[in-house]
C-alpha cells in the first residue's frame, strides 16, 4: 500500500464503522437529559434504550454471543450518547470499562465467560466497586478481604463486606466488579477483582449524591455484602488489570464522552450566534462570537486527534499492544482532554452570551459546564500530572510515531 499511512487507515476505518450508528438511544438520552439533571436521577430511559438496542454488550466477543465491537465502537457510542446527556454517556463509559476488564482478563475461566454471555443476552449493567473507606482514594489499596464461611454454613461461599465511598449507578446495576485483597492475610496492594452476579450481593446505601453535575450517575456510598465462590475471583491480579486495562480504557472512553458533551455545547453556541446574526441582518464576516466558536472548535479538534491517536496506540483491551501503552500517554490524554473540553465549553458560553447563560431554552450551557467540571476532578489532574512528571525519566514519549 503506497502513500497510505496509519493516519489514512484511521480515516478510512472511521468512515466505515463495523457497527451500525446509535441514533435511537442517543436521541432518547437527549430527550431526558434535562429531567435527569434537574431531578438528579439515573438516566433510566437512555440505559433502557441502549439495552434494547444491544449496545451494552458492545465489547463482548462474537464467540460469547456479543457483537465483537472494538474499543473505537464503544468510544463512538459514548460520544453520541453524551452529546445528548452527559450522565448517560458517563454511565455507558464506566460500564464499558468494566466489561473491557472482564473481556481482557477472563481468560478461559468459565464463570466470567458465562457472565459475559449472559450480559449480552439480558443486557446486564456492570458497576465498579474500587472505592473504599480508609484507603485514601488509592485504587491500588484494599482493606476488604474474603472471609471463609463458617464450617457449619450450608453456603460455603466466602463472605465479602466492602464499605464503598462511591459506586456509580450502584443501585441500578445488575452486577459488580469489586476489588479486594486476595486473602484475609494478604497485603493491601495484593488485590483481585471479584465478579458478583445479580443474586450474589446486597447494597446498603450509606451516602447520597448531591453534586454540581453528572447528577445522573448516582455515585452514592454503599456497604456491599456479598457471598462469592472462589471461581468468581479473576485470576489476573488487579495490579495488572488496573494498569493495562481499567485505567487506559476508562480514560479513552471518558475522553470520548467529554468531547461528546462539548460537541453539543458547540452546536448550541453556533445556533445562538447564528440566530442573533440573522435577526440583526449582519454579515458573518467578523461577527461577534465567531472567534470564540473557532477557538472552541480548535480545542475540540485537537482533543479528538489526541483521542484517535491514543486509540491507535492502545489497540484492543487485552492485546499485547495494549499492555505496552505508556502510562504517561494515558495520563496526558486524560489531563489534556478534560481541560480542553471544559475550556471549549467556556468559549461557547462567551460566544452564546446570555442565551447560553440562561438555564432554560435551546442554547442553555449550564448542564454542559457543570457536567464537564467533573472531568478534571474525577481522578484529580494535579495528581495525574505529578505522576506524569516522574514518568518523564522512564520510557521517552513516542513522538513521530504517526508521521
Amino acid at each position: 500500500m503506497t502513500g497510505a499511512g496509519p493516519l489514512a487507515e484511521a480515516i478510512a476505518a472511521a468512515a466505515s464503522p463495523a457497527v451500525a450508528p446509535i441514533e435511537g438511544p442517543a436521541a432518547v438520552a437527549a430527550a431526558h437529559a434535562e429531567a435527569v439533571d434537574r431531578e438528579g436521577r439515573f438516566p433510566a430511559e437512555a440505559i433502557a434504550a441502549l439495552r434494547q438496542a444491544g449496545r451494552l454488550g458492545m465489547l463482548v466477543p462474537k464467540a460469547l454471543g456479543g457483537p465483537g465491537g472494538t474499543l473505537a465502537d464503544a468510544v463512538r457510542d459514548c460520544f453520541a450518547v453524551a452529546r445528548g446527556c452527559g450522565s448517560a454517556g458517563m454511565v455507558l463509559a464506566m460500564h464499558h470499562s468494566q466489561m473491557a476488564c472482564l473481556v481482557a482478563h477472563a481468560g478461559d475461566a468459565a464463570w466470567p465467560r458465562e457472565y459475559l454471555a449472559r450480559a449480552v443476552r439480558d443486557g446486564l449493567l456492570l458497576a465498579s466497586v474500587t472505592s473504599e473507606e480508609g484507603v485514601g482514594g488509592n485504587l491500588r489499596r484494599s482493606l476488604c478481604a474474603p472471609e471463609p464461611a463458617a464450617a457449619d454454613d450450608a453456603d460455603q461461599r466466602a463472605h465479602l463486606v466492602k464499605r464503598a465511598t462511591n459506586i456509580s449507578y450502584g443501585a441500578h446495576a445488575s452486577a459488580l466488579l469489586l476489588s479486594a485483597r486476595r486473602a484475609p492475610d494478604a497485603a493491601e496492594a495484593d488485590q483481585v477483582l471479584w465478579l458478583l452476579g445479580p443474586d450474589d450481593y446486597t447494597l446498603e446505601r450509606t451516602g447520597g449524591w448531591e453534586t454540581m453535575g453528572m447528577r445522573g450517575t448516582r455515585s452514592e456510598a454503599f456497604v456491599v455484602r456479598a457471598r462469592a465462590g472462589a471461581e468468581q475471583a479473576l485470576s489476573t491480579g488487579f495490579g495488572s488489570i488496573a494498569t493495562e486495562t481499567m485505567t487506559p480504557v476508562t480514560h479513552i472512553l471518558w475522553a470520548g464522552l467529554w468531547i461528546g458533551i462539548a460537541a453539543d455545547a458547540l452546536d448550541r453556541a453556533r445556533n445562538a450566534v447564528k440566530g442573533k446574526l440573522r435577526k440583526s441582518g449582519g454579515s458573518a464576516v467578523g461577527a461577534p462570537g465567531t472567534p470564540r466558536l473557532a477557538a472552541a472548535a480548535e480545542k475540540l479538534l485537537a482533543a479528538e486527534a489526541l483521542l484517535a491517536s491514543a486509540l491507535r496506540r492502545y489497540g484492543e483491551p487485552g492485546s499485547a499492544q495494549s499492555r505496552e501503552m505508556r502510562p504517561a500517554e494515558v495520563n496526558m490524554l486524560k489531563t489534556s482532554v478534560s481541560e480542553a473540553t471544559l475550556d471549549a465549553v467556556g468559549q461557547c458560553l462567551i460566544a452564546a452570551g446570555l442565551a447560553g447563560y440562561r438555564v432554560d431554552g435551546a442554547h442553555a450551557l449550564s448542564r454542559h459546564l457543570r457536567d464537564l467540571w467533573s472531568a478534571p476532578l474525577m481522578v484529580p489532574n494535579d495528581a495525574i500530572r505529578a505522576a506524569s512528571a516522574t514518568l518523564m525519566l522512564g520510557p521517552r514519549p513516542q513522538l513521530g510515531r504517526f508521521l
Binding site: 491500588r140 495484593d190 491480579g237 495490579g239 502510562p327 525519566l393 522512564g394
Partner: protein, 83 residues
C-alpha cells in the same frame, strides 16, 4: 542466587514499596501484583542503572522487563551487567 539477582532485590527493597519483602519474593512472582507501579519502575531503573553503570535501552523499558525479579535479572545479564 546470583549477585545480579541480589542487586535487583536490593533495588526493589529500597526503591519500590512492595506489599511483600523483596528479599523473599519468588523470582517469577508478578511484581505488579505485589504493588509495583509504573512510577516505582522509574526509581528501580535509576537505582539499577547506577549500580551497574549502564543504561536501560529504550526498547527495554516495557512492563514485561519489570514484571519479575527474574525478568529484571535476565535484562541486566543481557545488558552485560557485572555483579
Amino acid at each position: 542466587m546470583t549477585g545480579i539477582e541480589t542487586a535487583v532485590r536490593d533495588a526493589l527493597a529500597s526503591r519500590a514499596r512492595l506489599s511483600s519483602d523483596a528479599k523473599a519474593i519468588g523470582a517469577e512472582d508478578d511484581l505488579f501484583d505485589r504493588g509495583l507501579t509504573s512510577l516505582m519502575t522509574v526509581d528501580v531503573m535509576l537505582a539499577l542503572e547506577e549500580r551497574f553503570d549502564l543504561e536501560f535501552p529504550e526498547e527495554a523499558l516495557t512492563r514485561n522487563s519489570f514484571r519479575s525479579v527474574a525478568s529484571l535479572r535476565d535484562l541486566l545479564v543481557s545488558l552485560g551487567a557485572n555483579a
